[in-house]
């Protein structure tokens, strides 16, 4: 089922931070939402999630850092059970083990609290919780910025493998076009509260139309190296 939302907008203290925006996301599609900080991309992400949840879609959110997703006083098992109950799913050890294996956290001690796990494992646990209900859309907000690069790269690779061929669409919100470029088929560029460009990745990377997109493309990586 294609996800469709119309006229998402947001204001903060009288100032428009997101102008009316329409979005269509096909099943299994990979979309990158890129823009400078303050361009309104996180706001769009949050509005999208809250609107879709209100419409009864199944959407999951992975915040930037595990600190924004896990309660330090509660055990990992508690988090997992709570997530299952929130989705009205029966407790299922096989499903849990399958997800944990796919995200390489099967060795984690569920009786521990979040800070008993490494940050990389915490983040993958959050992703596992997000994937628990096989959502129509998974929204990831700067998923790599709170992690060390090696750990972040591993996480993105595991997630790519898990999502491949499934119907869960992915929206990757990031300021880093270099990160998004390799993982999404469609790129949306935000600037000052508006989606100013929306094109297949190939086209946007080779022929960016707007100034915001051109700036992102020009600074998409630190160095180009010959093969």
């Amino acid at each position: 089922m294609t996800i469709m939302v119309r006229g998402l907008s947001a204001e903060r203290s009288g100032r428009t931070i997101l102008y009316p925006t329409d979005l269509d996301i096909k099943p299994g599609e990979r979309v990158g939402l890129v823009g400078a900080s303050g361009s309104g991309k996180s706001t769009l992400g949050h509005m999208l999630i809250d609107t879709l949840l209100a419409q009864g879609h199944s959407v999951a959110h992975v915040p930037q850092s595990p600190d924004e997703a896990l309660d330090p006083l509660r055990s990992m098992r508690f988090h997992w059970q709570e997530a299952e109950q929130a989705l009205r799913l029966p407790a299922d050890t096989d499903r849990r083990m399958a997800l944990f294996e796919a995200l390489r956290i099967e060795g984690g001690d569920l009786s521990k609290r979040p800070w008993g796990w490494s940050r990389g494992m915490q983040q993958r646990f959050v992703i596992a919780m997000a994937l628990l209900g096989t959502p129509d859309l998974l929204v990831m907000d700067e998923p790599t910025s709170a992690l060390d690069p090696v750990v972040a790269a591993q996480m993105m690779a595991l997630l790519d493998d898990y999502l491949a061929g499934g119907s869960t669409a992915l929206m990757l919100i990031t300021h880093d076009l270099g990160l998004a470029a390799r993982r999404v088929s469609r790129l949306m560029v935000m600037d000052a509260g508006r989606v100013v460009e929306d094109a297949p990745s190939e086209r946007l990377l080779t022929a960016p139309q707007t100034q915001a997109a051109q700036s992102l493309c020009a600074h998409r990586n630190w160095m180009k190296l010959p093969c």
């Binding site: 999630i49 809250d50 949840l53 999951a60 959110h61 915040p63 600190d67 924004e68 997703a69 896990l70 309660d71 330090p72 006083l73 509660r74 508690f78 709570e82 997530a83 929130a86 989705l87 609290r113 800070w115 919780m129 997000a130």
Partner: protein, 312 residues
């Protein structure tokens, strides 16, 4: 965990020893002749020097500081609190009687404090900044500022003198407990309300809460399983301080309401320089204090084990 508990236990022992040595030193070095104070309390009149010498020798005041200290400490380690310097009767049974009057009032006060503060704090945090919240904060601040002796007298004037609903003096019936317990309980409620309120407000601002709501956890579930424990951590911490406040308030309140309890026991013992009695009260209160704080530390660590990890 065992190591942590052992460490806390060791700390408790140090505190108790310190309390014992400090009170002994204070009493010993206080100005005036202790023998004279004991003799006055015993015979209620001026006595000749020969009697004073007798009292001095009997109470061990003439042996010097350290022998007197060891004389007192030795039996104590075997569980013997000794005899009153004034009456010669065993201290322990008298102390137990005093405590049997004090403990119910203390517990009732604590109960009143909890029963008032939790709903008040919940009500105040429903809409932070609303008039209700401000009113609760104002009342709580006022409650912390008002001393127990003044509040006690006001309550006596209103409920005992004007309205005649409740008895003010003594401890004959259960009704006699109400005014002293309310006096203390209001003070406890005032400070607890402030702590619980700020604990809830702080817990509500935790950055991970929106993620739980987006995950589909109900607002009620978030409140019960995530906000409540975070709000509880500071409350548990403050409980130890609350107990100190309560013990301190008890002495004043018992004197105001002429209740025969630890307060009266302590005041009369101090004015008579009755060393064994004073020491017994101090040690027992210190023991209660240390035990409660030990429990609080353990609960605190169970609630939030990060604290233990950092200390270990």
């Amino acid at each position: 965990m065992t190591r942590v508990v052992f460490g806390l236990f060791l700390r408790a022992c140090v505190v108790l020893t310190g309390a014992a040595m400090a009170t002994f030193a204070l009493l010993w070095h206080a100005p005036g002749d202790p023998a004279l104070a004991v003799a006055l309390a015993r015979y209620r009149t001026v006595v000749p020097d020969a009697v004073l010498d007798h009292v001095r020798a009997e109470a061990g005041f003439d042996a010097g500081y350290w022998p007197a200290f060891w004389d007192w400490l030795g039996p104590l380690l075997r569980g013997d609190f000794g005899q009153s310097a004034v009456t010669g009767r065993d201290v322990w049974p008298e102390l137990v009687t005093a405590m049997s009057y004090t403990a119910p009032v203390a517990l009732l006060a604590l109960g009143i404090g909890m029963a008032l503060s939790v709903p008040l704090a919940l009500l105040a945090t429903k809409r932070p900044g609303s008039w209700l919240d401000r009113f609760a904060v104002a009342i709580a601040s006022l409650g912390v500022a008002i001393p127990a002796f003044w509040l006690g007298l006001l309550l006596i004037l209103l409920f005992a003198v004007q309205l005649g609903w409740l008895p003010a003096m003594g401890a004959r019936t259960t009704a006699h407990m109400i005014l002293p317990a309310v006096t203390l309980g209001l003070g406890v409620a005032a400070s607890l309300t402030r702590i619980i309120r700020s604990g809830i407000l702080e817990a509500r601002g935790k950055p991970f809460l929106p993620a739980f709501l987006r995950r589909g956890v109900s607002a009620r579930g978030v409140q019960r399983h995530h906000i409540a424990p975070h709000a509880g951590v500071p409350v548990v911490t403050v409980f130890g301080l609350e107990l100190a406040f309560l013990l301190e308030g008890l002495v004043t309140v018992e004197v105001i309401f002429s209740r025969p309890g630890l307060g009266g026991f302590l005041v009369s013992a101090i004015s008579a320089r009755d060393f064994p009695k004073v020491q017994a009260v101090v040690l027992v209160t210190a023991l209660i204090f240390v035990t409660v704080n030990l429990l609080i530390d353990i609960i605190y660590r169970a609630l939030d084990p990060r604290i233990g990890e950092q200390n270990a």
